[in-house]
């Protein structure tokens, strides 16, 4: 819209017509206090804190509802305004308990700040205050009614933002009260409760301490924590979260998860897992000493030295006697990129095996192959907030990728984005959709054929043929369509869908997976047939050439996949299994007997089903206790920072390096550090023959210093950047905690579509589960229990009143 000119506090300002005065002022660095206004939510004008004087208008005006206009002259701080705000505060404090000394919000409370600023400590009101006891609405949401200033942010957040509508306003005037959707008389325990998604967004939005969180309340004071911005360890969205940590006698404990600076790809959002499910780190079942199985079958704690010695010695011996091909390696979905990369490099160049895999939750190989040679075709999570139209095929973002769902709802609400959904289930996002096609069970394959033009597939795709045909027409007419793909689509179906999408101008794609670094695990080559960056094993890519040069045994053929590894074990062909941060035994229902003749090493936090079968358990740090980077489902790279700390545990990175060292590996070949190698890297011909060290040459060219320690993940990050196609990382962007979008696609010249076994196994997590890790979160267990108390929820019945 056209710009308008106006004057605020004597400053000449310009903003697009239609901008709210409060926002225009914020952009110009002029702060106008506000309680009820929340950017992106509907306007309420309930609190009157934002009043300003606008020339030619008879009364003070609310800056949160007034759009700027040409020639407007505004005063934002005058004695008159200060007096008005002070009076507002006095009214708000009329019923407020002023229990700041014990209130969770104390120190970060907008009401406190404003009272401090406008000095409304004196009051003319002598009436007794309304008091009500605090209420526990759910394990995570508590309500202290007296502190509530009735700004209605929580109500709008839950309704408009979450599309849950669990909170309402009841009664009238000074006895108004925020009410949850399960009233006391309808609840088995005669207490009011919320039946909702438990995201805690209402708590986040509350300007005061009226809504508090079950995990954090009365635990500490905001100024006693350090605040570390990192990435959520749960789903594939990779929301930026800020962890509040406090030191304890054996490390530092995470006491709060929140979204402090709102600068991340998730905007305002965090779901319940990001906000509360950090507590697994403090679980009592945490293993903090290496355990070695004795001849009597029992575990005994040993020192790190003894454990690592044993593992190194055994790995070396088994490799040398039975060959690298007899060893299997399984990596995790919550490792950093650096760890995943190092693990596969260790497997391929030190153990000498391509028998490496991870729990795949989406088919990234086909995705990368289908997009080989394309540019600008992959979407960032940020695009879900701005794309003019979005097609979702499969998946259920509300549950599997709540951050994505939040962005989509916001996009529909604020930008009128058009959402098209094809799913075999009536997923919740259909309520925002312009068109929804309910597919037949397993109808995805037929749908991709139908979209590609095969009309005969219509009947197997969906029962509503007219709806389907209209759906295809409207989708085909979209430009710059964002196509979000669920993990149901794999292999040929996935390629077909992408091929269809590529015919639409400007269409971009994303494939949704289930865990914090599922994408990274695939990108980094935790796969038997793919090296990092989807370079096929045995190809002639630069990376493959370097690997072969370093490989002890010629591992040029693809290795065993996850299931084959366990089959081999069952047949007695697997000498050793190295499991890093994964629980395949539970996930794939592996028979314990299969592993009885295999030397099993497991790096884990807990005694999981897999760890229980190990010969050696090495206690591992989790994603909140290490540094590195992760890549979300979309290919957005973000920095992970160390927040918590636990005495006794080590990062997976460190353990891999130490084991390699104990095996007598040439460490500089594994982790490039120090001055690097001075060896012929196998390029015995051509211009580069006898070349000193590609890595250090590259470092020099990039103006990067060599790393000083083999334990520095940045050394591996350097190598990733040098070798993995698509990982052309902007360091400053990464290190300043910002996200950046990467499009790792398979190198076009190397793509060979072969029939690969479909090993995608979706995690099937609910809102309150998170794989094996989630089982160790007390808060998630409480939420599951809470959910089980309620008959199937109100959430399905809703039509909103807020139209």
């Amino acid at each position: 819209m056209a710009d308008v000119n106006f004057i605020v506090d004597g400053k000449q300002l310009t903003a697009p017509a239609g901008t709210l005065l409060i926002e225009a002022c914020k952009s110009a660095g002029i702060e106008i206090p506000a309680f009820c206004y929340y950017p992106g939510l509907s306007l309420q004008a309930a609190c009157r804190m934002c009043v300003v004087r606008i020339e030619k208008m008879p009364k003070l005006q609310t800056a949160c509802t007034t759009p700027v206009a040409e020639g407007m002259v505004v005063q934002t701080e005058t004695p008159e305004i200060a007096q008005a705000r002070k009076a507002t505060l006095q009214l708000l404090l009329g019923n407020h308990p002023l229990d700041c000394p014990v209130c969770d919000a104390g120190g970060e409370c907008e009401l406190q700040d404003m009272t401090f600023k406008y000095g409304a400590a004196d009051s003319f009101y002598a009436e007794p205050k309304n008091h009500r006891e605090e209420q526990k609405w759910s394990p995570v949401v508590y309500f202290d009614r007296p502190r509530c200033i009735l700004c209605y942010r929580c109500v709008r957040m839950c309704g408009e933002g979450m599309d849950v509508f669990a909170l309402g306003i009841q009664n009238r005037g000074s006895s108004s009260v925020i009410a949850p959707n399960v009233p006391a008389q309808m609840s088995p325990d005669d207490l009011p409760h919320v039946d909702c998604e438990q995201c805690g967004m209402c708590i986040d939005a509350c300007p005061v301490g009226a809504l508090t969180s079950g995990t954090y309340r009365y635990k500490t004071r905001p100024w006693e924590m350090n605040h570390v911005a990192t990435v959520c360890t749960h789903c594939g969205d990779g929301c930026k979260t800020t962890l509040g940590v406090r030191s304890t006698s054996d490390g530092s404990e995470i006491v709060r998860g929140d979204n402090r600076d709102k600068s991340g790809i998730n905007g305002d959002f965090l779901c319940n897992k990001g906000r509360y499910a950090f507590d697994f780190a403090n679980h009592e079942g945490r293993i903090t000493q290496p355990l070695v199985r004795q001849t009597n079958g029992e575990f005994k704690s040993v020192s790190w030295e003894v454990a690592l010695d044993l593992v190194g010695k055994k790995f070396r011996e088994l490799r040398d006697t039975r060959g690298g091909k007899s060893i299997g390696v399984i990596g995790g979905n919550r490792l950093t990129n650096e760890e995943a990369y190092l693990l596969q490099k260790f497997a391929r160049t030190v153990l000498g095996t391509n028998n490496i895999d991870h729990h795949r939750t989406a088919d990234y190989v086909s995705f990368a192959q289908a997009l080989a040679g394309q540019t600008n075709r992959t979407a960032s999570l940020r695009d879900t907030l701005t794309a003019p139209s979005v097609l979702i095929v499969g998946g259920d973002p509300t549950i599997q990728a709540p951050g994505t769902a939040w962005n989509l709802r916001t996009n529909v609400r604020l930008n009128r984005a058009k959402l098209y959904i094809a799913n075999s289930e009536p997923i919740k996002l259909r309520r925002q959709a312009k068109a929804f096609v309910q597919l037949s069970p397993f109808g995805y394959s037929a749908l991709t054929s139908y979209l590609a033009g095969d009309d005969a597939s219509a009947s197997s795709a969906a029962s509503d043929a007219t709806g389907l045909s209209a759906f295809r027409d409207v989708v085909k007419s979209e430009e710059n369509l964002l196509i979000l793909i669920g993990s149901e689509l794999r292999g040929a179906d996935l390629r077909k869908l992408i091929a269809f999408g590529l015919t639409l101008p400007g269409a971009k794609f994303a494939l949704l997976s289930d865990y914090a670094n599922s994408r990274g695990a695939a990108d980094m080559g935790l796969l038997p047939d793919m090296l990092p960056g989807y370079n096929p094993v045995g190809s002639s890519s630069p990376l493959a050439t370097e690997y072969t040069a370093n490989t002890t045994s010629g591992s040029l053929a693809p290795g065993l996949d996850m299931l084959e590894i366990f089959d081999a074990a069952g047949k007695g062909d697997l000498s050793a299994l190295y499991v890093v941060n994964s629980n395949p035994v539970a996930r794939y229902g592996v028979d314990a007997a299969a592993l009885k003749n295999t030397f099993v090493v497991v790096q884990e936090m807990f005694l999981t089903e897999t760890a229980a079968l190990a010969d050696v358990i090495l206690p591992a740090a989790n994603l909140y206790e290490k540094a590195g980077s992760v890549t979300n489902s979309y290919g957005d790279l973000q920095q992970v920072k160390k927040a918590g700390d636990r005495a006794g545990v080590r990062t997976d990175f460190e353990m891999i390096v130490r084991i390699a060292d104990k095996m007598g590996t040439n460490m500089r070949a594994l982790v490039p550090f120090g001055k690097g190698l001075r060896a012929d890297m196998g390029q015995t011909r051509g211009a580069q023959s006898g070349e000193a060290d590609r890595h250090s040459i590259w470092l020099t060219a990039q103006n990067l210093e060599p790393r000083l320690s083999p334990f520095d993940p940045l050394a591996i990050l350097d190598e990733i950047q040098r070798l993995v196609p698509g990982y052309n990382i902007l360091r400053l962007q990464l290190l300043s905690g910002n996200d950046q979008h990467l499009s790792p696609a398979a190198p076009a010249e190397l793509v060979q579509i072969t029939t690969r076994r479909d090993l995608v196994l979706p995690a099937n997590d609910s809102l309150f589960t998170s794989g094996t890790l989630g089982r160790y979160s007390t808060m998630l267990s409480d939420l599951q229990h809470n959910e089980s108390l309620r008959p199937s929820s109100l959430l399905t019945q809703i039509q909103t009143a807020a139209d």
Binding site: R172, M186, A801
Partner: protein, 169 residues
């Protein structure tokens, strides 16, 4: 679509509700009239009524409760057969509204928003009922009685006890 199986309301009222939701530009505009009619029929707005009204209008029960709790003339507990609403707003107050209220409390033996044990009368103190010219005034169910004195109130109550009052709920 607006018809509801196993309605808790009488067939007449259910039919009326079926029609009611169709006559406004927005379905939810029918909410307040529906609440009033439901209360007239049931004596109060029960949880079951809330649920059915929400279903009929296609909004959440929470939305119904939000509105229901806003209006003091809507109740969620049964009242007496005759609900006595005594005005104590300014005109009535000046002309003895509080004496009338006190008298009612004494005679009926109940306080504000309470129901006598026999369920015949309940009492409520209300704001202006629009009968200021004939203050002090009260309303029993939907009938007005004005220019009151304690004696007149006694006569009225006797009339109602004798079954001579109008039986509108």
């Amino acid at each position: 679509m607006s018809t509801v199986a196993n309605s808790i309301f009488s067939p007449e009222l259910a039919a009326r509700f079926d029609h009611l939701v169709t006559i406004y530009p927005l379905r939810r505009s029918a909410l307040v009239p529906m609440l009033l009619y439901a209360q007239d029929e049931l004596g109060y707005v029960s949880d079951a009524a809330v649920a059915e009204i929400a279903e009929r209008i296609e909004i959440l029960e929470l939305d119904v409760r939000n509105v229901l709790s806003y209006y003091s003339m809507l109740r969620t507990k049964p009242a007496g057969k005759y609900n006595v609403q005594v005005c104590t707003n300014i005109s009535c107050m000046l002309r003895g509204g509080y004496e009338i209220l006190d008298h009612c409390k004494k005679t009926l033996g109940v306080g504000h928003k309470e129901t006598a044990p026999d369920g015949v009368f309940s009492l409520e103190e209300v704001e202006c009922i629009g009968a200021c010219c004939w203050a002090p005034a009260m309303q029993i169910n939907y009938d007005f009685h004005d220019d009151l004195t304690p004696e007149k109130v006694d006569v009225l109550f006797q009339m109602y006890r004798d079954g001579q009052g109008k039986d509108v709920k």
